[in-house]
Subunit: 410 residues, 2 copies
């Protein structure tokens, strides 16, 4: 069996070694990563990766959004099966977020090359540009512009904190990699993204592999509560209008709403706070906080939108900041991933993704699903990000199995 030969050729040691090599581009003291999208560190990492790809005999392209495509040729020119993720990081990130999916994809191509297995369809490893969104906002520009190239013109105008536009950074990439052939969006047969979970669910359940059913939808809001700033010493309680107390009282009502709509399944976070004037001895005149509410069911999100206003204190302002519908992954691809997990002999489970990924955009382009491996203590976006080596290997093997399987489809 071709799939078994490829799986057996996947090397955990080589995967770890390549992850360590990638971490030298933008690694900080203490183990943190800071490899911002289209920075010099990113360019150096891409140059190294292109070299690795060429050693495997792969062809490499880029596109107008600086996505990289590394193709292991198939027996035909049918639509390729794609895998990949991103190699940009958070400002104080770990070594695995995104990078794991790219390095595991490269390991799959090496296993194919080593065994000489040829699939019917080409298999392409993709590096999507600026997924984190920490240099240029929003994130996932590369995958988003791939599936809808009309988005690129707007993205090019986005600026980083130093005033450099995304367009200028793309031009610098084009200059550095002028030798790469340029191509436009190619229709893919399927897309599989392998990623660390970035949450605690697999670890808690003791399952090394997760087949991702979809990505939660999200609502981001900002609530601004108004009070009357006044002297903490001179203002009797009955005469106060304390914006901070108005805000904290309304948290309880918002949580009750989320519980009613989603029960224990709710994910509700009040992560960002700004109290004005933020002085020990002044009653808060304003309290501003963010709401992050996520759910896999679009109807739950819509009910939250409709009822949220009833939770707010009088005079509060509600500003929607961001909204994304839930993504349901493709049942046929999910089926292949479940078989792949079984083929590795490792326990797996169905899981939904709480975080966004490039696969969210690819799902609108071709049949798509994702594989997760556990994150120790659920930690991500942090230098302490860690996955056990045997879990990293298990994920790469399941990915290899599924890529071969999908690429042999008619």
């Amino acid at each position: 069996m071709n799939t078994q030969r490829v799986i057996d050729a996947v090397s955990g040691a080589r995967l770890l070694q390549r992850l360590a090599q990638l971490a030298t581009y933008g690694g900080l003291e203490g183990g943190a990563m800071n490899r911002q999208a289209l920075s010099e560190h990113d360019f150096d990492a891409r140059a190294w990766l292109i070299g690795q790809a060429r050693q495997l005999g792969c062809r490499v392209w880029t596109d107008p959004c600086a996505n990289l495509f590394i193709r292991y040729d198939g027996d035909s020119e049918l639509a390729p099966v794609m895998t990949g993720s991103h190699i940009d990081t958070q400002p104080s990130g770990g070594r695995l977020d995104g990078c794991y999916g790219v390095m595991a994809g490269l390991e799959c191509l090496q296993a194919l090359a080593a065994t000489g297995v040829r699939t019917r369809r080409p298999i392409e490893l993709v590096v999507w540009t600026n997924e984190e969104g920490s240099r240029f906002s929003p994130g996932a520009m590369g995958s988003s512009a791939y599936v809808d190239p009309t988005r690129l013109a707007g993205y090019r105008r986005c600026q980083d904190a130093d005033g450099v536009s995304f367009g200028q950074a793309l031009d610098a990439h084009a200059h550095r990699f002028a030798h790469l052939p340029l191509r436009s969006t190619v229709q893919a047969h399927a897309f599989v993204e392998l990623h660390i979970e970035q949450g605690p669910v697999l670890e808690q359940a003791g399952n090394p592999l997760g087949v991702v059913s979809g990505i939660q939808g999200v609502r981001w809001y900002q609530v601004r509560c108004h009070g009357a700033p006044a002297h903490a010493g001179t203002t009797p309680m009955p005469l106060r209008r304390d914006a901070l107390l108005a805000a904290t009282a309304c948290l309880v009502r918002i949580d009750a709403l989320a519980q009613r709509l989603a029960g224990a399944d709710r994910r509700l976070t009040f992560g960002r706070w700004q109290v004005t004037p933020n002085s020990i001895n002044t009653i808060a005149g304003q309290a501003c906080f963010s709401i992050d509410f996520r759910h896999a069911d679009a109807a739950v999100l819509e009910a939250f939108d409709a009822e949220l206003v009833t939770c707010l204190p009088e005079g509060a302002e509600l500003e929607p900041l961001f909204s994304h519908a839930p993504t349901a992954f493709d049942p046929a691809v999910i089926d292949v991933l479940e078989q792949a997990c079984a083929a590795t002999g490792m326990a797996s489970q169905s899981i939904r993704s709480g975080a966004f990924h490039d696969a969210m955009y690819l799902a609108s382009h071709c049949p798509t699903a994702m594989l997760f491996v556990p994150s120790r203590d659920g930690v991500s976006h942090n230098p302490l990000e860690h996955t056990e080596p045997q879990h990293l290997l298990a994920g790469a093997r399941a990915l290899a199995w599924s890529l071969v399987q999908l690429a042999d489809q008619a």
Copy 2:
């Protein structure tokens, strides 16, 4: 009657005109004041004030903490009766906080000079340095160092935001006002401070005058709650440790404690917040907030200190930031102030001060009390600070009556 002649000579128009003149030193567009302690604006205001004092035939001294003393001589060299306040302001303050007490005191001296009334004891108007504490922290350095000169050496090392030490600023004052004779602390017979209320109590009660019974004691604490920073999308609710929710839950317990100890009389404020990492899509890893609790009864404050720790979530850190015992003003001076209010024919009431004042320190030096006039909407530390002109006049008249009365005491 001397007192009635002096009261009749107090001019509301002149008082308002001097308040307007004082507001030209450090006045910002839109009516806000920014006259920081020992700034050039403060120096210019002091120079003008010294000129006014000299026109009234008063002698002027300064001291090692740059307090200014303007003496209207008495018939003897007995301990003087002192009045006064401060002329430094908040960064976006009003025209009355502190300034009113100084300008009203100057108006009393002018009424004395105009009528030729001589009291037994000298009467001194004092400008206390750096009451607000907004340039150099802590506040009330001038009055504090006056009653305990050993504090000055420590104060001299305090720095402002630009790295200028209080000592350097005092030296600049000494250079600018090198012509002023220097003196050390003189024992006062009594101290009366006239001030705006900075709260809503007199306005709500419809009383133009308040005789201040004392100043609340205060406790300032900082509470730091710890959680686990984690991804808002990937972390199920049962697995979260959200520092912000731990903090808001403990607010309810702290308020219940304050209610049990002090009932409706409690003054409890959570004014300053810092949430870390303060990101929309990250569960708070730390939430830090301040507690400001005030009460007139030392036993209530001590019980709050003892029980506060029981309100905190596990692992929270409690840091005491500041503590000051309640101040009870002198019954004999209070009695004189009540008579003075009656003599003006305006309604008065007993009131406690929720804010600190220079009188808090003077109370440890000599028999002390305060007079308040209403603040519109209870607003202070704000350009909208306002007191009706007839109330400003009533306060100045009551002050004049009480100064003459106290200065004629044996």
